[in-house]
């Protein structure tokens, strides 16, 4: 470790903005979630527990807001004060948005969260010292801190239950931050296999746990760089561009007849998750 590496490597270590940064190639993982299809059934959240070794914290800790669900379903009501919500509720699956200019990355004192070449926002458990600055600076509040040592806590993974733990995902001990990883263990395995065969990952070859389980298929996931991928086509159809903070839709609200938007885009984190607005029929 020398100062020269530090200086040489400096520019490579920091990817502050998708535009003045090198473009992603060959991979940029991104998502598109159709809120009109999402029924709010929570299957994705459970699948996430199963795939990523999330601890079940129990009632008391949940009450203290120390729940660890990487993927939460939010339920919103109309705010027009009618007696009944007679146009139903609005469900929103919210997980780490894998921002291109992630507010969490710049503030971590030890660089435990970084931007990866395939456009993810990595979280390195064994590097984390638990300053929790990343969570403090996350606009979406999708980072979850290990307030207790769950592996050794009663009834989190008692005998037999621990056999279900996914060996590809590190089980987190106390004092580290964690968050949705877009199922990086699956992505990296697919990338590695593809590499062995001298090709890039095909569209649909790899799925995130939540996408795989989503009953109405509201979640589309794939490689944004690949022009043939579904997710790329969806982003294109909605005219949502990764590196912009004002999209075609925002220019003419509603008039554009587009549904695609990214949450808190005005803060310019350039999220990798595009949502498609929920629709309600005007005829009834």
């Amino acid at each position: 470790m020398s100062v020269t590496t530090l200086l040489e490597g400096w520019s490579d270590w920091r990817h502050e903005h998708p535009i003045n940064d090198q473009p992603h190639n060959p991979y940029k993982w991104a998502m598109s979630i159709d809120l009109d299809a999402c029924t709010g059934c929570n299957a994705c959240s459970v699948a996430c527990y199963a795939e990523n070794n999330l601890p079940v914290v129990g009632k008391e800790k949940y009450a203290h807001g120390q729940v660890m669900h990487w993927l939460r379903i939010e339920r919103y009501w109309d705010e027009d004060g009618r007696e009944f919500p007679d146009q139903g509720a609005r469900f929103l699956p919210m997980m780490c948005q894998q921002c291109e200019a992630a507010p969490c990355e710049t503030v971590c004192p030890v660089g435990a969260t970084n931007h990866t070449p395939d456009g993810l926002n990595s979280q390195i458990y064994n590097r984390c010292i638990g300053s929790r600055y990343c969570s403090a600076n996350c606009p979406f509040k999708v980072r979850y801190f290990n307030w207790y040592d769950y592996p050794t806590t009663d009834n989190v993974w008692p005998a037999e239950m621990n056999q279900q733990l996914n060996p590809d995902v590190t089980v987190r001990g106390k004092g580290v931050m964690e968050k949705c990883t877009f199922c990086v263990q699956r992505l990296r395995e697919a990338e590695s296999n593809a590499k062995s065969q001298g090709r890039v990952v095909r569209d649909g070859e790899v799925q995130t746990a939540c996408q795989q389980v989503c009953l109405p298929g509201a979640i589309t996931f794939g490689n944004l760089v690949d022009p043939e991928s579904k997710v790329h086509k969806k982003w294109q159809a909605q005219q949502v561009e990764l590196a912009k903070d004002v999209q075609a839709k925002d220019k003419e609200e509603g008039g554009s007849k587009l549904r695609g938007y990214r949450i808190l885009e005005e803060l310019r984190p350039y999220p990798s998750v595009m949502y498609l607005e929920r629709v309600r029929d005007s005829a009834i």
């Binding site: 470790m1 203290h64 807001g65 030890v110 638990g130 929790r132 106390k174």
Partner: protein, 458 residues
């Protein structure tokens, strides 16, 4: 209301000050015991938290920072006035600082040490803290130099080391005095070692002055930068209520403010405990009080600036957060902060109270409370009311663990500080001597002029 006597014998100064090292009033021991008890509480809570996990502090997932960070800022802030008194006023040749700058510096050092503790207390994995230190390591990776938290660590470390140096260098002549006046024992050995063979030769004095002055000059910008950097922990983040350009001056002002208030408190305590009535005189108190009053007004102004800049910022979320502080669950604390920070100091504007020790004691305590609340009001409401409504916080009330550790930190500070005052001269003997000497010269000169004038009349 009498000031230090100009005809006071230098031997008496030595005697009085050294006396403070020997037997202070009973109150000293009382304070010491109380302090140790408080530290005990703090250590207990920390041990519990360390073993069980941060969860016992009852922070939750949107609301990940609590009283630890608030207290951290508070203690950093407190450290500033020491530098102000000793360094800035030193350069300004304000001679009234001379009897009190020593303990002010001590306060700086020890409050920094206390602040440092909170870093460890706050970390989820304190045992891995060395990851944040930029040293050439086996893993072949550096910490993240973009993170304000890292700048923090560096700035504080620098500030701590240099203020220790400043304190020590400034003490060398006095240590020599102690060395010469102590009867043999471990203390004498200690002073001998620390005095670095000071003999008071002209050459030594010359070098001494140069060194002292250099460090002083170095320290002032450092002090300012330190709290600006602490401020940037917040200002450089993206959160509503934090992302405000006026934060650095705001923090520095707050720092000086709480520091001066603390000095008043300690002034009054030391004055009594170590029988320094003759040195820490009321005129000096008056001067500090006036200084504090001035700073309190600056702080109030900057506080309003903060609100104004949020208001003109046209960021609805930031406005919400601000209003949340005033009218939300944190309202009582926010308003008592305004009361303690901006209303109470008005008392200090009245001559009558400026030298009224009991009143000033209470006032100074209230000011410190206000400043502590200010730090809390900067940290918590933003978490409770950030950008994302879904995660707005329900009941995030710090658990006894957090309170216990904050409580303990005050004990820790008192322990270190009183220990220091018992072990080292908390009034700078040589500077007091200078002071009275210069003053006597001045008066003599004045008297001389008078006589001359009288003669001329004839």
């Amino acid at each position: 209301m009498k000031d230090i006597r100009e005809d006071i014998a230098w031997a008496k100064i030595n005697k009085d000050v050294l006396h403070s090292l020997e037997n202070p009033r009973k109150m000293f021991w009382v304070m010491l015991v109380v302090a140790i008890a408080m530290v005990g509480v703090g250590v207990g809570c920390e041990a519990y938290q360390y073993i069980t996990g941060m969860g016992v502090a009852n922070m939750d997932n949107p609301h990940v920072w609590g009283l630890y960070i608030a207290s951290f800022i508070f203690w950093i802030g407190m450290s500033h006035s020491g530098t102000l008194l000793s360094a800035i006023l030193h350069l300004m040749h304000a001679d009234w600082r001379k009897p009190i700058y020593r303990f002010a510096e001590a306060m700086t050092t020890f409050s920094l040490m206390t602040a440092g503790l909170f870093v460890f207390v706050h970390l989820g994995r304190a045992w891995q803290v060395y990851y944040a230190i930029p040293y050439p390591n086996e893993r072949g990776i550096w910490p993240n130099f973009q993170s304000p938290l890292l700048w923090d660590a560096m700035a504080i470390f620098t500030y701590l080391s240099s203020s220790i140096l400043f304190l020590y260098v400034g003490m060398i002549p006095d240590l020599a005095i102690c060395r010469d006046n102590m009867n043999p024992g471990w203390r004498k050995k200690l002073y001998t070692a620390l005095a670095l063979g000071w003999e008071g030769t002209d050459r030594q004095w010359r070098n001494f002055r140069v060194t002292y002055l250099t460090i002083a000059c170095f320290l002032i910008p450092l002090a300012v930068s330190v709290h600006s950097i602490v401020a940037s922990d917040f200002a450089m983040s993206q959160q509503p209520g934090w992302h405000i350009t006026s934060f650095p001056p705001y923090f520095v002002a707050g720092a000086l403010y709480s520091g001066c208030a603390a000095i008043i408190t300690l002034f009054i305590i030391l004055r009594y405990v170590f029988r320094f009535e003759e040195y820490m005189t009321l005129p000096i108190l008056k001067k500090i009080v006036r200084l504090t009053f001035a700073i309190s007004m600056v702080w109030t102004y900057l506080n309003m600036i903060e609100m104004a800049s949020v208001w003109y910022g046209h960021d609805p979320v930031a406005k919400d957060t601000l209003l949340e502080r005033m009218y939300g669950p944190y309202a009582p604390f926010w308003w008592s902060m305004i009361f303690c920070g901006s209303i109470v100091p008005l008392i200090m504007a009245f001559k009558r109270f400026q030298t009224n020790i009991p009143v000033m004691f209470v006032v100074s305590l209230l000011l410190n409370l206000g400043m502590w609340l200010e730090r809390w009001m900067i940290v918590s409401p933003t978490f409770a009311h950030g950008y994302y409504p879904w995660t707005w916080d329900h009941d995030q009330w710090p658990s006894f663990v957090q309170w216990g550790i904050v409580f303990g930190s005050f004990g820790w500070f008192t322990l270190l500080f009183m220990g220091f005052c018992k072990l080292f001269p908390s009034v700078s003997m040589y500077e007091v001597k200078e002071m009275v000497y210069h003053r006597s010269l001045a008066t003599k000169a004045a008297a001389g002029k008078l006589e001359a004038a009288g003669k001329g009349a004839h």
